[in-house]
Amino acid sequence: MSRKIPFEPLLWGAALAMPWLLDSLGEAYYIGFATRVLIFALAATSLNFVVGYGGLVAFGHAAFFGLGAYVVALAMQAGLSSAWLAWPLAMALAALTAFAIGLVSLRTRGVYFIMITLAFAQMIYYTVVSFKLAGGEDGLPLAQRSTLAPFDLAEDATLYWVALGLLAASLYGLKRLAASRFGHALAGVRQNPLRMEALGYPVRALQLACFVIGAAVAGLAGALLANQNGMASPAMLYWTQSGLLLVMVILGGVGHRYGGLFGAAALLGLEEALALFTEHSHLYVGLALLAVISFAPAGLAGLAGKRRRG
């Protein structure tokens, strides 16, 4: 654990200084990219909580991610641009949806849970795409970014720092959560749900709470991405987005606190770097993923030699 001491401050220090650094290098374009990484890291971390901490292989996380984006876009259209209101609303709607989906889905186990969460996410995708109010296939553009007084989100660097702050807060929250009574109970449920039930734990309620918390944070990430992209798009709700988030989690390290961040940074970074050299970056990303899953089953966090939930 001695190597942990320099790791975290270095990481956060570098992340904090990033906009100044990029600015001075004349690469301000990359602030947008870095923001995207942070937002996907937040979404992947929320999924990692569900998959890695709760032991629930959910294949419909894009539903909550995308709903968050659509709430912000729809609220903006209705004249509500304040992030202080719209973002919590995005979280609340994602949480509420997850509560309903979880209530039904948690009756199933294993691959059936994977499939039923996928089915519900697809229902939401098609519902949103069918409604003209939500822009249909074209998505819903944002007239402007959310307002977050006293900060000015129109500044790219500010949006970056807000995303960084929310990611840091979520990772700290995850640390607290993992060490709390709830986190310990969840760890037990992940390892042996039947034994936990026999100790008097309401297993399904614990899993549902985990599912709902993960969804709320995904909704927040979606709200951020709508601001970053200037729109809410159906692609954010599609099953391949769920797959991509899951890939980030597995790549980064399932059940590792930094797994979502590592996975998002590695995947998006690789894509971005390869795009400089080839039109076919996905081909090489795919090969890299195959290599990682073949030779580093515990993901990048496992490669770094750190222990679970460090």
């Binding site: 607290r176 959560l177 060490a179 709390s180 009574r181 709830f182 986190g183 310990h184 109970a185 760890a187 037990g188 390892q191 042996n192 039947l194 034994r195 936990m196 039930e197 026999a198 100790l199 008097g200 734990y201 309401p202 297993v203 309620a205 614990l206 709470a209």
Partner: protein
């Protein structure tokens, strides 16, 4: 005698086989009631039905006069019915102490809710202290910091018992707690159970007749999903039907 737990006409079938075929059973408060019978008689199924991990196809269960047939397993644990498992079901990646602390934390009657998200569980020292006490009681004080998977087989069985006890049950369902233990470990387990007599109600499945006759206040003989007879060890031992159906084979 008023019954603490009552099973009335319990039935359960798997495919076409009645594993439990109309069981009537009453446990008196603070008795140690042993359940014996040949393999396949439906003893473990009965434990599943009483603990709530299986639902009966017919029949009722009452706890202190209250109908609990429709209650889920975790609700029954909260009401005071806890089971231990035949194959040790401990959390192998957690320490012995954390295994028992989880059992303490799960006790909703007095330990409070597990839906607490912020405060570190380790800050609640009383749970750790209580877990240490339970470990001491089953002779595992020294192994508190070991991962459960590193424990010897007998130690894991003791841990299993400590976890069950830490839920503070009124009724403890013990599914072959001696299975697979060496003579010395079995002896120690027998002492542990003897020390619990009179403090709580126990339903014990056990194959070792010597242990059963030493520990049990009463015993019931289960054959082909039905209770053949119930009584004190002496009356059961003398029952010719029991000798034919069961003891005869065992002793032969």
């Amino acid at each position: 005698m008023t019954a603490l737990l009552e099973a009335i006409g319990l039935k359960k079938h798997f495919g076409g086989v009645w594993a439990t075929n109309g069981v009537d059973l009453a446990l008196a408060e603070h008795e140690l009631h042993a359940l014996i019978g040949p393999n396949g008689a439906g003893k473990t199924t009965l434990i599943h039905l009483v603990s709530g991990s299986l639902r009966p196809d017919a029949g009722r269960l009452r706890l202190a006069g209250r109908d609990i047939t429709a209650r889920s397993m975790h609700e029954r644990v909260a009401m005071g019915i806890t089971r231990s498992f035949q194959i040790s079901q401990v959390f192998s990646e957690l320490t012995a102490l954390e295994n028992v602390r989880l059992a303490v934390q799960g006790r909703r009657s007095d330990a409070g809710s597990s839906f607490r998200f912020w405060r570190p569980a380790s800050a609640e020292v009383w749970m750790i202290e209580e877990a240490e006490e339970w470990l001491g009681q089953v002779g595992l004080a020294e192994q508190a910091g070991c991962l459960a998977r590193e424990l010897a087989y007998g130690e894991r069985r003791a841990l299993e018992l400590a976890m069950a006890l830490a839920t503070r049950p009124r009724i403890l369902l013990l599914d072959e707690p001696m299975a697979g233990l060496g003579p010395e470990e079995a002896e120690r387990m027998t002492h542990l159970l003897a020390a619990l007599k009179g403090k709580l109600t126990m339903l014990l499945i056990e194959h070792d007749m010597e242990v059963v006759f030493k520990l049990a206040d009463r015993l019931s003989v289960l054959v082909e999903g039905r209770i053949l007879t119930t009584g004190t060890p002496e009356t059961v031992r003398a029952d010719p039907a029991v000798r034919r159906a069961y003891l005869g084979e065992e002793r032969a």
